[in-house]
């Protein structure tokens, strides 16, 4: 194949990092719920998909993308609160299997409801006007909208980091995941904390869905594929570690970027190969603590 210029490799690297940022956004909500509540949220992809559809709906009734950017996470977060309260709460302390099964069922229900209300075919989702087009980033052209998504990811991460590190929330959540009873004895209403975390996690999933919509359009099945990728990022980074998720997301992006260059058909399996290697060498992921959830 034609020569590999420096510019191409640099652009490819950038594309990989950019993709990594999007992975981080997909994964972070999952990681939060996964690592902190020990709930393997199989419905994460469904929340993501519903986020995109809610955005679609809001725009169709006259909203615009910027309103959606606020409203979608809010609505999906509220929905998440309801789900936690009614469905997930009875399952805490029963191990990781039950929430997993329940959210699996829930994802079926959510996807099917969307099919009933919006139909089986997908819809196009236009990139907002001022974010259309590509800009020169020095080594080549790159779509403006993708740059915007990266910025949005950074904002979400910063907010999350502040929330977890600058409040006692992070501490409570980490302790609560391992021994909720003692945390209760120490005066914390763990259920409320869990409720909030679940809400935040799903809100981020919804936001990710909305942001992904202009990249790929919306379709009821859109949550399925990202779920596996999000799991990989979460696990490679070490569960419950935000920093780990960021590092892993970017790494996965770069790995995909580079395999796309040299063996594109392996792009997908490279993610899993990476995960297998990382976990075989370091069973708890980059920043995970050993022993969690065993």
């Amino acid at each position: 194949m034609a020569g590999l210029s420096f510019d191409l490799i640099a652009l490819q690297l950038f594309a990989g990092l950019a993709l990594g940022a999007i992975y981080v956004l997909f994964a972070i909500g999952l990681s939060l719920i996964f690592g902190m509540l020990t709930v393997v949220n199989f419905a994460h992809g469904a929340f993501y998909m519903v986020g995109a559809y809610v955005g679609l709906y809001l725009i169709s009734i006259g909203g615009n993308f910027w309103i959606c950017l606020v409203a979608v996470p809010l609505l999906i977060g509220l929905f998440g609160l309801g789900v936690e309260r009614v469905l997930i709460r009875p399952l805490y302390g029963r191990g990781i299997d039950y929430p997993l099964l329940l959210t699996f069922g829930l994802s079926y229900v959510m996807v099917e409801c969307v099919r009933i209300f919006f139909g089986k075919t997908g819809y196009p989702f236009d990139t907002p006007e001022i974010l259309q087009g590509a800009v020169n980033i020095g080594v080549g052209y790159f779509p403006l909208y993708r740059l915007f998504v990266i910025a949005a990811t950074a904002v979400v991460l910063l907010a999350l980091w502040l929330f977890l590190e600058k409040t006692s929330f992070g501490l409570i959540i980490r302790a609560g995941a391992r021994d909720p009873q003692i945390v209760r004895v120490l005066g914390v209403d763990v259920s409320r904390v869990w409720l909030i975390v679940f809400g935040i996690g799903t809100a981020i999933a919804g936001l990710a869905g909305l942001l992904a919509a202009p990249l790929q359009g919306v379709i009821p099945e859109m949550g399925g594929t990202i779920l596996a990728e999000a799991f990989v990022v979460t696990v490679v980074g070490g569960m419950g570690s935000i920093g780990g998720a960021i590092l892993a997301g970017l790494l996965v992006g770069v790995v995909v970027g580079m395999t796309s260059l040299f063996a594109p058909e392996m792009a997908k399996v490279s993610i899993f190969a990476l995960m297998a290697i990382v976990l075989i060498v370091r069973p708890q992921g980059f920043f995970g603590r050993a022993g969690l959830m065993s």
Binding site: V40, I96, Y98, L102, F104, G105, L106, Q181, V269, S294
Partner: protein, 328 residues
């Protein structure tokens, strides 16, 4: 973690009469059920699928329910069994029973490879490594188009008649197919019950319960885990081989992680760590999916809702709940 309120295995003196009856005549009940099963199912091919998935879940349950490791890569074991069996017939012209044996061996071997790599990890990480490795297996089979047919799947596993003690019987006949496959499944169930009742069965449970203590008691935890995983691979490999014969094709989807996920669901639905749970889970899941999907295209809504209800109201799974009721 917390004060989980699982059913404690406590033998009790006051047992419901049906339960007593059922335990006493366990073997005959199973035989009767297997005999009449295809007659009460919507169609025979479904009954065969249930047997096969039940066997698959049985093998999975050994690792999940008894050893306490959640594997998300069992599709690789099932799929390897299916492909090895199919390839033996299509490309090497092996006889059907040799191909089944090859499939079983393929499952064992694949389990050994995955097991050796993954067994060091724990908990959710184990689930993820096994999933990742099984994805790699998927890719391997996907790319080996000449052998496996790649995305188009492996076709041509057409076994029209089979030799049985000199008898040539018509394998196309659905009932014959059912009973031949049922014979294998029953044999597998028998072997499983021996394993669980064996001393090693106790070791498996001990390792699940408390790894540190098991080690101090003199058990090699890693080896026990590995051996259990490999045994499980044998059951799943056999299931895969039977599946290949039954459907006469091996779709690449058999290696997809959804197939791994499916077996988790089946085991949980039926009752993890119970002997008949996997088979019952397979029956309920597949029948439900079948009936509802003929009735409405929105079958996923109903199936999903039933899942949710099961988790909330029958956390021990269908069979697990029945046992708990029966013991009372």
């Amino acid at each position: 973690m917390t004060d989980a309120t699982e059913s404690i295995k406590q033998p009790d003196t006051t047992t419901a009469s049906w339960y007593e009856f059922a335990t006493k005549h366990r073997a005959s009940i199973v035989a009767v059920v297997i005999l009449v099963f295809p007659l009460v199912m919507p169609f025979t091919a479904l009954a065969v699928n249930i047997l096969i998935y039940g066997l698959y879940a049985l093998g999975f349950n050994l690792v999940f329910g008894y050893l306490g490791l959640l594997s998300f890569g069992h599709a690789a074991l099932l799929g390897t069994g299916a492909y090895v069996c199919g390839i033996a017939i299509v490309h090497f012209g092996w006889s059907w029973y040799a191909a089944i044996a090859a499939g079983l061996a393929g499952g064992l071997l694949m389990a050994l490879v995955i097991g050796v790599l993954a067994i060091r990890t724990r908990g959710i990480y184990f689930a993820m490594v096994t999933m990742a490795l099984s994805q790699c297996v998927y890719y391997l089979f996907y790319q080996a188009v000449d052998l496996t047919g790649g995305e188009n799947g492996l076709r041509g596993i057409n076994v029209r008649t089979i030799d049985l003690f000199g008898l040539r019987i018509d394998f196309i006949n659905p009932m014959v197919r059912y009973y031949v496959i049922a014979a294998f499944v029953i044999a597998a169930f028998f072997v499983m019950s021996r394993i669980l009742a064996s001393p090693f069965g106790a070791v498996i449970e001990a390792v699940r319960e408390n790894e540190m203590r098991a080690r101090a008691s003199g058990y090699d935890v890693t080896l026990t885990r590995l051996l259990t995983f490999v045994l499980s691979g044998g059951f799943c490999g056999l299931a895969g081989a039977l599946q290949a014969l039954h459907l006469s094709i091996v779709p690449i989807e058999i290696l997809h992680y959804e197939t791994s996920g499916l077996v988790v669901m089946i085991a949980l639905l039926g009752g993890m760590g119970t002997f008949f749970g996997p088979m019952i889970g397979a029956a309920v899941f597949l029948v439900l999916e079948n009936i509802v999907s003929v009735w409405t295209v929105h079958w996923q809504l109903i199936v999903g809702a039933i899942f949710i209800a099961c988790v909330l109201f029958f956390p021990a799974g269908i069979w697990g709940t029945l046992i708990a009721r029966g013991r009372r």
